[in-house]
């Protein structure tokens, strides 16, 4: 579903992605972790070309993301993206937020999009908040609306860029629960997160990045109990302590 082949990216002189080779299969849940500045957010943002890559091949759902001629709008419609800061549209209600892209990109009728929106918001547990504005919702609720916004496009892939990092601790679980349900339904997911409990429980594979490289990738049992790389061990000892 997602294939990185010898992908490189630079921010000026900074080599943020250094020879990334990675495949994510259909229905797979991949968790990406690593110290800050390791390139994990950049990597996930490359998948729908919020960031362009400079070298190598990146193929998503059969489309060449590295190729300038690729119609990214068509591909982006198939990929839901959830941001750390939610990025809900503040001038729209929850329902309007989730129904915008279906009506404008998919050209579904307004009524159909609204019905779908209600249904999906209900699914993430916000059936009673459809007419609330983002400012009236808690962080956890906002992030669930953001997930619903992605799901309303009926995407093939969902990308999560630190979806719980901006949340108060008591709101993290409500968001993770929605993501677990999604994984259970067989959604292809790439999740940048430090929630190692989530990784252990839900991920098919866990990858760790450091200095622009994927230094280790393994199924969670193996990743957590028997990490091969010294830097993986160091990282895990730091974040699993608390």
């Amino acid at each position: 579903m997602i294939i990185f082949r010898e992908v490189h990216k630079w921010f000026g002189k900074l080599h943020v992605l250094n020879d990334i080779n990675l495949e994510v299969g259909a229905g797979e849940v991949l968790v990406l972790c690593g110290p800050s500045g390791s390139g994990k957010s950049t990597l996930i943002r490359c998948i729908n070309r919020l960031e362009p890559i400079q070298k190598g091949e990146l193929i998503v759902d059969g489309m060449k993301v590295h190729d300038h001629r690729t119609n990214m709008r068509k591909l982006r419609a198939e990929i839901g993206f959830v941001f750390q800061q939610f990025n809900l549209y503040p001038h729209m209600t929850a329902l309007q937020n989730v129904a915008l892209a279906p009506t404008k990109v998919r050209k579904t009728s307004k009524r159909e999009a609204m019905d779908l929106g209600r249904q999906v918001l209900g699914k993430v547990g916000l059936g009673d908040k459809i007419d609330s504005y983002p400012a009236q919702l808690s962080g956890g609720q906002q992030q669930r609306v953001a997930i619903a916004r992605g799901l309303c496009m009926r995407p093939k892939i969902m990308l999560f860029d630190e979806p719980t990092s901006a949340l108060d601790p008591e709101m993290i679980n409500e968001v993770l629960e929605v993501m677990k349900d999604l994984a259970g339904e067989g959604m292809t997911m790439v999740v940048v997160t430090h929630e190692m409990g989530f990784a252990r429980e839900v991920a098919h594979r866990v990858a760790i990045m450091d200095m622009g490289q994927v230094i280790e990738i393994a199924p969670p049992e193996e990743f957590f109990s028997n990490p091969k790389n010294e830097r993986t061990r160091l990282f895990l000892s730091k974040i699993l302590r608390h």
Binding site: L50, A77, V105, A135, Q142
Partner: protein
């Protein structure tokens, strides 16, 4: 003596009202045109095209950095040398439209830049076209920042329109110039001129203040 002047002035009132109408016509057309062009330029300036950004930026700086009177003279007296002959009215409208566009462009660009980058990214990620992003996501939010200073700018432009009396446009200010030659009471005559401008501008000042209060208390995301 004062009664004499006041009667004279009262007789001139239709003349002033014609001038007022001319001021409204010049300002109205220029504000509409300047707003349309200003929005277009402002939006273009916030695109990722450096060349267009710098081109518009240079023009805006040039216009903002020179007196409006000089610009009006250039349009009316210098352009004919290049073969562009304009009557006073279209020359005035052209100069004022351009001036308005330059100021409004900056207001619009600042408004768009005030919308958090994440908004545009979220819209991009969901597959909206650039135009759809602008129309449904960016501009509705930018308008909150744009509207109060925009209306304030309208007030300034209406007052700036008095400069076009210098090339013979029969606006309120010119009506004042001509009347003061018959009624040599400057305070009285230009007091009336001032009052007529004030009548147009005062509601706009209040509108601007109202918008500022309304927009300031708007809903924000975080």
């Amino acid at each position: 003596m004062w009664t004499y002047y006041l009667t004279e002035l009262a007789h001139s009132l239709p003349f002033f009202l014609k001038g007022l109408w001319m001021t409204i016509a010049v300002s109205g057309i220029s504000l509409a045109g300047g707003t349309a062009i200003g929005f277009a330029w402002g939006i273009l300036r916030t695109r990722k095209n450096r060349f267009i950004d710098h081109l518009i930026g240079a023009w805006v700086d040039l216009i903002r950095g020179t007196p409006f009177l000089v610009q009006v003279f250039i349009v009316f007296f210098i352009l004919p040398e290049a073969g562009v002959h304009l009557e006073a009215f279209p020359a005035a409208v052209l100069a004022l439209t351009n001036l308005g566009a330059c100021f409004i462009c900056e207001i619009v660009a600042a408004g768009i830049r005030s919308v958090p980058w994440g908004q545009k990214e979220a819209a991009t990620a969901s597959g909206l076209t650039e135009l759809q992003q602008l129309r449904y996501v960016v501009m509705p939010q930018a308008m909150k920042t744009i509207l109060p200073p925009l209306v304030g700018q309208y007030v300034l432009l209406i007052k700036d329109s008095s400069v076009v009396s210098a090339i013979g446009v029969m606006d309120v200010t010119r009506a004042g110039w001509l009347t003061v030659q018959r009624v040599p009471q400057g305070l009285l005559v230009f007091g009336l001129v001032g009052i007529l401008y004030f009548i147009i501008c005062y509601p706009l000042i209040h509108l601007s203040n109202f918008l500022e209060r309304k927009m300031g208390g708007g809903t924000t995301s975080f």
